[in-house]
């Protein structure tokens, strides 16, 4: 298509409609990008189908809520189990194995410790995570609840990171600013964050 042709065609009704459609499409893409939260990495060489049993380690907690790590871990482990894609080991069994393997920092084990741990509990992989933010968020007079979590899966035979993702859910929306109300309940926000992580893991 020549430049002249384009110039001639531009004023036509069909040309305007096409431009509007393209513009709307671009807007949708930009909005989708703006709404997307967190990053995701997945090892292309990893056969995720071979992962049948997973140990979810205690989550590191960087938030002000002392229980955030345990709360999010419990919900995450249950949500992952509920997918039926993998079996998640009971938390007590993981705690026993961590003690037995002598893991110094359960939230951030070394590769050797992961291999040892996976051998002890017969797991194919372990999942570690960090709760970066959890609880009430304030901005002026508006409040809302937020949960921000990043997680990674480490392969049991090598201790290598094969998947990593992060998510942030909740926060203060436009309606919270205009109408107040305090945002969604923290447990709903937690569930949304966990669902997002699980969806990213199973993609």
């Amino acid at each position: 298509m020549s430049i002249a042709r384009v110039l001639v065609d531009r004023p036509s009704r069909w040309g305007l409609a096409a431009a509007a459609t393209r513009g709307a499409g671009l807007l949708v893409v930009l909005l989708a990008l703006a709404c997307a939260s967190g990053h995701r990495y997945q090892d292309a060489q990893m056969d995720f189908g071979s992962v049948k049993t997973v140990a979810v380690l205690p989550f590191a907690n960087l938030s002000r809520d002392n229980l955030a790590g345990e709360r999010v871990r419990d919900t995450f482990a249950n949500a992952l189990l509920a997918t039926g894609a993998v079996y998640v080991l009971p938390a007590g069994e993981v705690a026993r194995a961590l003690g037995k393997a002598g893991v110094a920092n359960a939230a951030a084990p070394s590769s050797e410790e992961i291999v040892k741990l996976c051998q002890a509990v017969k797991a194919d992989a372990v999942i570690t995570a960090v709760v970066k933010e959890y609880g009430e968020l304030r901005s002026g007079t508006a409040t809302g609840n937020v949960a921000s979590v990043s997680a990674q899966m480490l392969e049991g035979t090598t201790g290598k990171v094969v998947w990593a993702a992060s998510t942030t859910k909740g926060g203060i929306g436009l309606s919270d600013r205009l109408l107040g109300g305090g945002g969604a309940p923290l447990n709903d926000v937690t569930e949304a964050a966990v669902d997002d992580l699980v969806s990213k893991l199973l993609k």
Partner: protein, 394 residues
């Protein structure tokens, strides 16, 4: 809800190895209640799970009187205290098998009644009580379990005519209702376990059920104390007790007396610091003969605010394989999904926990309720991605 097991006929009330003085009922306060003609029972001192100070001695006296009015013959408090002292019983939240047997032989009772105070507030009256009767023999079977939790302002009705302002009135309502339920159950006329009302609005948000759990089987279940992260004292024990009650009211489950479970835990020095491990499950199974072990974590159990809040995760482990066969993470508020004019609000934390657990257990064998998460996700899984495990979630 169907009854969990066939009613066990109450043993004929023993006339008494203790003589006529002990055969009659007595109360600590309020005079001697009329003598009943029903089974002879021993009412252990109340266990306080209310998270606050409560007049346990007075409540026990009133409960004893209420039981006697329901036609049960209650062992005198002094006689029972002497028995507890003799056997060095300090924990009255459960009954060990040896104590149950001794009570049957020495006190001549057919059942031991245990009462746990789960909530108590005299000012804006609120009272929650769970009771259970344990057979006075070595197996220590749970013969009956029921509970009631009420707040004075939970049913204000038209112009507030339904408000209960007196804690004594509330206490009497609860005690007489539970005493009647116990008397009926021991006479083989009432249900063996009182189930509370479940509701879809209290359904756990995240739940899992394994195909290993078969609806056609009968399971014996051991409930171990929950780990508590809640501010409220004894929140783990309270939730475990509520779960025990609802489990007992579920078809296909026989619940093992928590006192017997505790005995095994102490004997084998089991410490469940990070949750129950598979070794511990095997130990419990070997000693108790249980098919399933239930454990969990409590994060919130609070009714100090305007509405109660409950947040917990419960897991059921298969004793044979060590696999998780059921798991539920729940969070609920008393004002969740309210109907017109705020009717249906739940005012106490034990009542809320009870409803959430009932809803969870009602769905236990409802396979449609357990839909894997990825089916709910907006995008289908990519080709070559993970698939649900065979024999996994349904």
């Amino acid at each position: 809800m169907a009854r969990p097991q066939s009613p066990q006929p109450p043993q004929s009330s023993a006339s008494g190895a203790l003589g006529p003085a002990a055969a009659g009922s007595r109360v600590a306060a309020g005079g001697a209640p009329p003598l009943g003609a029903g089974p002879r029972i021993a009412l252990f001192p109340l266990e306080n799970l209310a998270g606050t100070a409560a007049p346990l001695r007075e409540l026990r006296g009133a409960l004893e009187a209420s039981l006697a009015r329901a036609g049960l013959r209650v062992v005198a408090a002094e006689t029972l205290d002497a028995f507890l002292t003799k056997h060095r019983v300090r924990y009255t939240g459960g009954v060990e098998s040896g104590i149950a047997k001794s009570a049957g032989e020495e006190l001549g009772v057919s059942a031991i009644v245990l009462a746990a105070l789960e909530g108590y507030a005299p000012d804006a009256p609120r009272l929650a009580l769970t009771m259970r009767a344990v057979g006075a023999r070595e197996e220590a079977p749970i013969l009956w379990i029921d509970g009631l939790s009420r707040a004075g302002d939970e049913s204000p009705g038209f112009l507030g005519l339904g408000l209960v302002r007196s804690p004594v009135v509330l206490q009497e309502q609860i005690f007489s209702r539970l005493s009647g339920s116990l008397a009926a159950a021991l006479a083989g006329k009432g249900p063996l376990a009182g189930a509370c009302e479940g509701a879809g609005r209290f359904r756990p948000k995240v739940r899992y059920r394994s195909a290993l759990l078969s609806p056609g089987r009968n399971y014996s279940v051991a409930v171990v104390p929950f780990r508590s992260f809640a501010k409220r004292r004894n929140a783990g024990d309270l939730l475990a007790l509520e779960l025990l009650r609802q489990q007992a009211a579920t078809q296909g489950f026989r619940v093992i007396e928590p006192g017997v479970v505790r005995e095994v835990i102490l004997k084998h020095r089991i410490v469940m610091e990070g949750g129950v491990s598979l070794d511990q499950v095997r130990t419990l199974v070997g000693a108790l003969g249980a098919d399933l072990v239930i454990a969990g974590d409590v994060f919130e159990l609070d009714d100090a605010g305007s509405v109660p809040v409950v947040s917990f995760t419960a897991s059921m482990l298969d004793a044979r394989t060590g696999d998780i066969v059921w798991q539920a993470s729940a969070y609920a508020r008393g004002d969740e999904g309210l109907r017109l004019f705020g009717t249906g609000i739940v005012r106490t934390a034990p009542a809320l926990a009870c409803r959430v657990l009932r809803t969870s257990l009602d769905e236990l064998f409802d396979l449609k309720a357990f839909e894997p998460i990825e089916r709910r996700a907006s995008e289908p899984a990519k080709k070559g991605g993970w698939k649900p495990r065979e024999g996994g979630a349904e």
